[in-house]
């Protein structure tokens, strides 16, 4: 790692003004540090953005714990766990992509980006299946929301039915599903933006834009992608694993 960095620095020293050094920076080092500092600050704003949702979650989970437990049990742990695995793997492929960019392995970078894109789509696909089930069971908050499945639970495919909830407790599941859709929805929006940027980077990588050491964009996108992954790492236990034994 440090060796490749030394090589890069030596090469920069060779030409006085690399093409991608912007006029208002003194050195490439300053330019790259500035870009990554900006990215970390942006991620801080993202933490605050999701922070609002997590605050709401914390309050309502404390208030309506039984409703949150029952509502959480309607989610599929299997699908959630698979999705977690998919995202962690995509973080790995993205990290590989950054490493390939740093070591100027163009083929490796292209394949890593493709793998990350495929895994991103896989995550969104599985999420769509989960959302579809919520629509079918009338668990989507709003005018067609129904508490039927909580007041009169039915056992399905070998799983024992949850205990029936009194109507007023069952009504509070709507708060849970509101948060479920707001949180996973906002997360999905970030995934979609990320996939868009990945596709853009893929085109650039095929054109060879990252083979001259100008890889700040890839590195900083890597930070973003890991952040989105990390949000899911919090969402999964908070939404899927409430009181599972």
């Amino acid at each position: 790692m440090s060796d490749s960095h030394a090589v890069a620095v030596a090469e920069h020293g060779a030409h006085e003004h690399p093409a991608h050094l912007r006029h208002h920076f003194v050195s490439l080092e300053q330019q790259d540090e500035t870009a990554s500092f900006g990215m970390w600050l942006f991620l801080l704003t993202e933490i605050m953005f999701f922070g609002g949702l997590f605050t709401a979650y914390l309050i309502y989970r404390n208030w309506y714990y039984p409703a949150f437990v029952s509502a959480s049990h309607t989610l599929s742990i299997t699908l959630g766990a698979i999705n977690t695995l998919v995202l962690i793997t995509s973080s790995f492929t993205m990290a590989m992509g950054v490493w390939c960019a740093e070591t100027k392995k163009q083929k490796g970078l292209i394949w890593s980006l493709i793998a990350t894109i495929v895994l991103g789509f896989a995550f969104l696909g599985i999420k769509t299946v989960e959302y579809k089930e919520k629509f079918e069971k009338h668990h989507v908050p709003g005018s067609s929301f129904s508490i039927q499945s909580f007041v009169h639970p039915v056992a399905e495919d070998g799983k024992a039915a949850d205990k029936a909830l009194p109507a007023d407790t069952a009504a509070r599941t709507e708060v849970y599903f509101s948060l479920y859709f707001a949180m996973t929805g906002m997360h999905a929006v970030h995934m979609i933006v990320g996939i868009g940027l990945l596709l853009m980077m893929l085109v650039q990588a095929i054109r060879g834009a990252y083979s001259h050491g100008n890889i700040a964009f890839v590195e900083n996108f890597g930070l973003y992608w890991h952040f989105v992954d990390l949000v899911w790492i919090f969402l999964f236990p908070l939404l899927y694993l409430i009181s599972r034994h």
């Binding site: 600050l41 993202e46 989507v140 009504a171 709507e174």
Partner: protein, 553 residues
């Protein structure tokens, strides 16, 4: 009257042929520019446009309140007018006012950099601002919005049938413009300082913007997610703020004020930065207690995040929360007072002159102090219960925002006008404008303190007969205030062509921005300066001049 104004010989002086304004020509060279100075000018034009829209709406409000009946307009029209006045003035004028114009223009120059860290993001932030502004205007023209700028739930989510979502989207987008400005400033101040420019050699203007940027970066995203939740509640019908579904409208208040209280410091801190520069220059002294003033900005930013619930004392939060937030609110008064006292000590035994920027700065100090002290009435839970939601609160925040921030903005615009344009504004008429503004302001808003004490509620088009005298005073004052704002608009435009040539350093000020030509070159500095002098070092400046004279001789 003595003056420090020092202009070059007008017969021979010329505005430098090559500068950031003449460097490139054509409309596209402006619309696609990455130059922080040009973006600052673009921002200046746009925020002035929105200021006059917001001002016209304020005029309509005052005109309606001239008589006790609701006769100029129907009550719901009045609701829409004051909502739009608030939205336009806060999100499209006050938040970007000083940072996006003067901050954008000056921060790189003050720290010896060629540009902000991210020029393209800077331009993007202007386009986002315009998009937000256009959507706001669109919402206003296509029927308006009547929730008040606070978007209180469940009014905004269930009962208002006006353009809540469009306006919310506009604020969401304008919010990103603000986030990008703040992010750019923080990164620039960390990574782009010239050799020798340490943190404690930075002008206090930069410190104030640093503190405000922290608030923009950390506060605005919370507003963004709040708007998203309101929009989802209005369209889909999720239940986060809806009590019929188990949600809590108070949670909306917590999230909203978690941004909107720090937002008042986003608005005022850059103004405080301007005042530090102006007071120092026109008293020929280093700002007293430089370090204390610098850290008081940061302290305001930090404390500012822990006082939001003082907007909610009567909304049903617990008594213990009221107690804690009341105490924390008192704490914010400390750093603000540190600034006021240090400015006063800077003036003490200084060689004070009374050019226009200084007159505005005096206006700021007086009016901000009144605004701040009346804030203590409102932060004290007992008196707040009587005063909140009355005209007292309207007067309080207008003293801080209009009396404080707008005065600081005008002070800064006059102070740096020669640097922005290379020409002086006309001194006599602008001094008159500063005085007219001060008088008009007090006539407009002081009666509102009395009205609030007497119990006149805010946000109503009609009021009982006995409040009329004070309301007539207020409306008459608003007319004077309007004249005070129109005057600079006219003579500043006039000065672009006919103003005296300013030269590099008309105020004989010490900042790096005054050591380069006016208007500056696109690249600001021909060679990156190496900073050896201290900040506000007037003796260094004297020596520089002596050196220049002997050199020429």
């Amino acid at each position: 009257m003595s003056t420090i104004l020092n202009l070059p010989d007008q017969a021979t002086a010329r505005v430098p042929k090559r500068n950031y304004l003449t460097n490139e020509n054509g409309i596209m060279s402006w619309l696609l520019t990455g130059d922080h100075k040009r973006i600052a000018i673009l921002y200046l034009i746009s925020i002035t446009f929105f200021f006059f829209i917001g001002g016209a709406l304020a005029g309509l409000i005052r005109l309606e309140l001239l008589t006790p009946q609701s006769d100029l307009m129907a009550s719901d029209t009045y609701n829409k007018i004051f909502t739009m006045h608030g939205v336009v003035m806060i999100f499209l004028f006050l938040v970007p006012s000083v940072p996006a114009t003067l901050g954008n223009f000056l921060i790189p120059i003050m720290i010896g950099a060629k540009d902000l860290a991210f020029p393209k993001i800077n331009l993007l932030s202007w386009y986002l601002y315009l998009a937000g502004g256009a959507l706001t205007l669109g919402a206003m023209i296509s029927g308006g919005v009547d929730t008040g700028w606070t978007f209180t739930t469940p009014m905004s989510t269930h009962f208002s049938n006006t353009n809540v979502i469009t306006t919310g989207l506009a604020i969401f987008i304008a919010g990103f413009s603000s986030i990008f400005t703040g992010l750019n400033f923080i990164v620039t101040l960390h990574r782009m300082r010239a050799p020798g420019m340490t943190w404690f050699k930075m002008p206090l203007f930069c410190w104030a913007h640093y503190a405000a940027s922290i608030l923009m970066v950390l506060g605005t995203p919370v507003l963004a997610i709040t708007i998203v939740l309101v929009a989802l509640e209005r369209t889909v019908g999720i239940g986060v703020f809806d009590p019929t579904k188990g949600g809590d409208p108070i949670l909306f208040q917590h999230l909203f004020w978690f941004y909107s209280h720090p937002a008042v410091y986003i608005m005022i801190l850059p103004g405080m930065g301007v005042i530090s520069e102006v007071i120092s220059t026109f008293s020929r002294k280093r700002v007293f207690g430089y370090t204390a003033v610098a850290f008081s900005s940061v302290a305001i930013a930090v404390f500012g995040f822990f006082v939001w619930a003082h907007h909610m004392f009567i909304m049903g939060v617990s008594n213990y929360a009221v107690l804690v937030f009341s105490l924390l609110t008192m704490l914010v008064a400390v750093p603000s007072a540190i600034k006021i006292f240090n400015w006063a000590f800077t003036l003490y035994k200084g060689s004070i002159t009374f050019e226009t920027p200084m007159l505005y700065a005096f206006g700021f100090m007086g009016l901000f102090t009144i605004g701040g002290l009346t804030g203590v009435f409102l932060g004290t839970a007992g008196t707040d219960i009587h005063l909140t939601e009355t005209y007292f609160i309207v007067a309080h925040f207008h003293f801080v925002m209009v009396g404080g921030m707008l005065m600081a903005f005008l002070s800064g615009i006059h102070f740096w006008w020669p640097k922005l344009t290379g020409r002086m504004y006309p001194e006599k008429i602008s001094q008159l404008a500063a005085v007219v503004t001060f008088i008009g302001f007090n006539f407009t808003f002081f009666p509102q303190f009395l009205l609030g004490m007497l119990g006149m509620p805010r946000r109503y088009a009609a009021y009982p007969q006995e409040f009329q005298v004070l309301n007539v005073f207020s409306t008459a004052g608003a007319t004077i205030l309007g004249v005070g704002y129109l005057l600079p608009m006219i003579y500043l435009v006039w000065s672009l062509k006919y103003g005296q040539i300013a030269g590099n350093n008309p105020w004989q000020a010490t900042g790096l921005e005054w050591q380069i030509q006016s208007p500056p070159l696109t690249e600001n500095f021909t060679t990156i300066p190496i900073v050896t002098q201290d900040v506000y070092d007037y003796e260094w400046l004297e020596r520089q001049k002596e050196h220049e004279v002997t050199h020429v001789g």
